[in-house]
Symmetry: C2
Subunit: 226 residues, 2 copies
Amino acid sequence: MAKGTYNRRERPAKPALTREGIVATALDVMRAEGVERVTMRRLAQELDTGPASLYVYVRDTEELHAAVLDELLGHIPLTDTGGDWRTRLWTVLMSYQEVLYTNPSLARVALVTKLTGPNYLAVLDTVLALLTEGGMAPGQAAWAVDILLLMFTASAVEHGTQQQKGDGDKNHEALIQALDTVSPDRYPFIAELGPDLVSGPPEARARWTFDTLLNGAMTTPRPAVG
Amino acid sequence: MAKGTYNRRERPAKPALTREGIVATALDVMRAEGVERVTMRRLAQELDTGPASLYVYVRDTEELHAAVLDELLGHIPLTDTGGDWRTRLWTVLMSYQEVLYTNPSLARVALVTKLTGPNYLAVLDTVLALLTEGGMAPGQAAWAVDILLLMFTASAVEHGTQQQKGDGDKNHEALIQALDTVSPDRYPFIAELGPDLVSGPPEARARWTFDTLLNGAMTTPRPAVG
DNA sequence: ACCTGAACACCGTTCAAGT
DNA sequence: ACCTGAACACCGTTCAAGT
């Protein structure tokens, strides 16, 4: 850290204080410590400045998280994934969900803020293209893409691997416990089904959900829109 | 506040320090100041104690929020709402969504934590009953109830009235702006559809979503479960 | 313009110590 | 057991003041 002869070409320790530098640092911190550590203060520390400085480049924490998510979405393969349109649509949605799955906090961001980043738009456009290829009318596809992405985003939020401690497991066990010991008088249908409600391999459930949404969207005409 | 002659029967200013008292206070604070003010510290202040005291009755903030939500769900009408099973199912889901809609922060809770409260279980049981009445096989209904509640919960999170400032509106306008000015070369399908992607009366979209899920679930058999 | 120190106004949770 | 003061370890955001 001595002043003077430091060669600035040689791997600068800190990214520049720009939007790109901030987002890049956010990605680093996220991968190393999880999204919950991607805070203005933590980032400012990493960038050797005060938190106030970041507000020149980023509106607020939510916008920062959205930028991080868009960056992540940039890595999912959208073309040449093989198979017919239905298979390719499934592949895209699974890739999308995987990104959110491994980081449920970002999935929450996807639900709460309207994403407008270039990579999210690319996913959107690809899904629309595939639905069109599958013979869906444009208006119908416009509504279908919404529920497809919403459903898989929500599912990621719900089932996403809470990498923090075994919290998710405890919660899940509590649910199974509750479903199993429920009063048959008050909740006859839950009691009848019991743990079946929550069972089944996740992949099979995801696939059934996908087929259900697609079959439904194909056969349910939109109401006349004024 | 003078000691001595205060008649304790006369509307005690503070609820007792019990789980019920805490949840009741939480509801008051929520209605008066919004869920984001339902914090351990705020509640402790309201109950004239320190935040640490609450941990005797409540595991953590998340559990507290879940308890508040369950309380709210206790008010939705589940029986004698009129119409055939499909109409009644629609009514239940709309009531459920309305609760979440007016409090998106609680909708987030519904997504993140597995709810096991008595009133949530009652909603679950009712939906299962109606699907069964509609002729759906038990196993099929078990999976269908999951996607129905998940979808309407997610939708509430996404579109819920952000009563805090005009934040939601800004966000929405930004999306419309983005969809409208998108590059037709990079995003041909989005450009083609434009604002149509986001248009349509919310109620009509909700209804289409409902019919789509139901039609899909009715016609898409589950894979053989081992 | 860009940048920042410091402040304002908060959080959740734990723990040692009291009753 | 139940209850608590105090502490630990953080947050987001604004603003006046500097360069």
